[in-house]
C-alpha cells in the first residue's frame, strides 16, 4: 500500500511517500478548518493553504511518477491560487463581515 501508487525501491521513494502522507494530513486539516471556520476570513486562510499544499503535492507527484506535465499544472495552479486569494480578500474587505456571521 503506497500513497502515490509507485513501488518503493530506494530512499528517495520512501521520502516521497512520507512527504505525500504529510501533505495529505495537512490537506485534511485545512479542509476541516474550511468547513468549521467561524468567519469568512478563516475560510479564506484555509483555501490559501489548500492551494499551496496542492502545488506541493503536484511537485511530489511529478517526482514520483516522472510525468513532466504535472509541473506545468503546478506552475499554473500557483498563479490561479494567488488570484483566488486576492479575489477573496477584496470580497471580505467589501462586506461588513459581521452581517455574514449572524447568518451562519
Amino acid at each position: 500500500m503506497t500513497i502515490l501508487g509507485t513501488e518503493t525501491t530506494g530512499i528517495l521513494d520512501i521520502g516521497l511517500e512520507f512527504c505525500a502522507f504529510c501533505i495529505l494530513v495537512a490537506l485534511v486539516c485545512a479542509a476541516w478548518r474550511l468547513i468549521l471556520g467561524p468567519s469568512l476570513a478563516d475560510r479564506a486562510v484555509a483555501l490559501d493553504l489548500i492551494s499551496g499544499l496542492l502545488v506541493a503535492f503536484l511537485v511530489v507527484f511529478t517526482l514520483a511518477s516522472g510525468i513532466r506535465a504535472y509541473i506545468y499544472a503546478a506552475i499554473a495552479f500557483a498563479l490561479i491560487g494567488f488570484l483566488t486569494t486576492i479575489a477573496f480578500a477584496r470580497y471580505i474587505e467589501r462586506t461588513k463581515g459581521t452581517e455574514l456571521e449572524s447568518h451562519d
Binding site: F18, S39, D48, I71, I75, A78
Partner: protein, 131 residues
C-alpha cells in the same frame, strides 16, 4: 546518490513543515494565529519540497520549472496573506480574549463605525471619474 539523499532530507523536512501548517490551522484559536501557521510554515514547507525537486533535475530546462514554482510561491503567498489579514482586521473578525490590539490601532479598527468621518470611507464613497 548524494543528490538523492539531499533531496530526501529536503522532502522530509518540507513534509514536516506542511504537516505543522495543517495542524496549526486546526489547533490555533485566532485568525491571525492561524494565518501565522499557514503562511510561514506552509511557505517554508512548499519551498523545501520545490528545492528537493531542483536537486533531482537532470537538465537546465528541468531545473527551470521548479525555479518558476519557487519564485511564484515565495512572491505570492506573503502578499495574499497580507491582503487577507488586512481584510480580517478591517472587518473586525472576533479575536481570542488573549489577543490585544495596540491602542493606536483602535481608530483604524473603528473605521467602519457610522458618524465618524475618516479618509478611508470618504474616499470609498467618492464617485468614480468618467474617462
Amino acid at each position: 546518490m548524494i543528490l538523492e539523499i539531499l533531496a530526501t532530507i529536503f522532502l522530509v523536512l518540507g513534509g514536516f513543515f506542511c504537516l505543522m501548517a495543517g495542524i496549526g490551522v486546526v489547533r490555533l484559536g485566532d485568525i491571525f494565529l492561524r494565518m501565522h501557521a499557514s503562511t510561514k510554515a506552509g511557505t517554508l514547507g512548499i519551498a523545501l519540497i520545490v528545492v528537493a525537486m531542483m536537486f533531482l533535475a537532470e537538465s537546465w530546462t528541468e531545473l527551470l520549472e521548479p525555479v518558476f514554482v519557487f519564485l511564484f510561491m515565495i512572491l505570492t503567498i506573503p502578499i495574499g496573506a497580507h491582503l487577507i489579514g488586512r481584510a480580517a482586521f478591517r472587518t473586525r473578525v472576533p479575536l481570542q480574549p488573549d489577543t490585544r490590539i495596540e491602542p493606536e490601532c483602535e481608530t483604524f479598527r473603528g473605521d467602519r463605525i457610522e458618524g465618524r468621518p475618516s479618509g478611508r470611507t470618504s474616499s470609498a464613497k467618492r464617485p468614480i471619474p468618467s474617462p
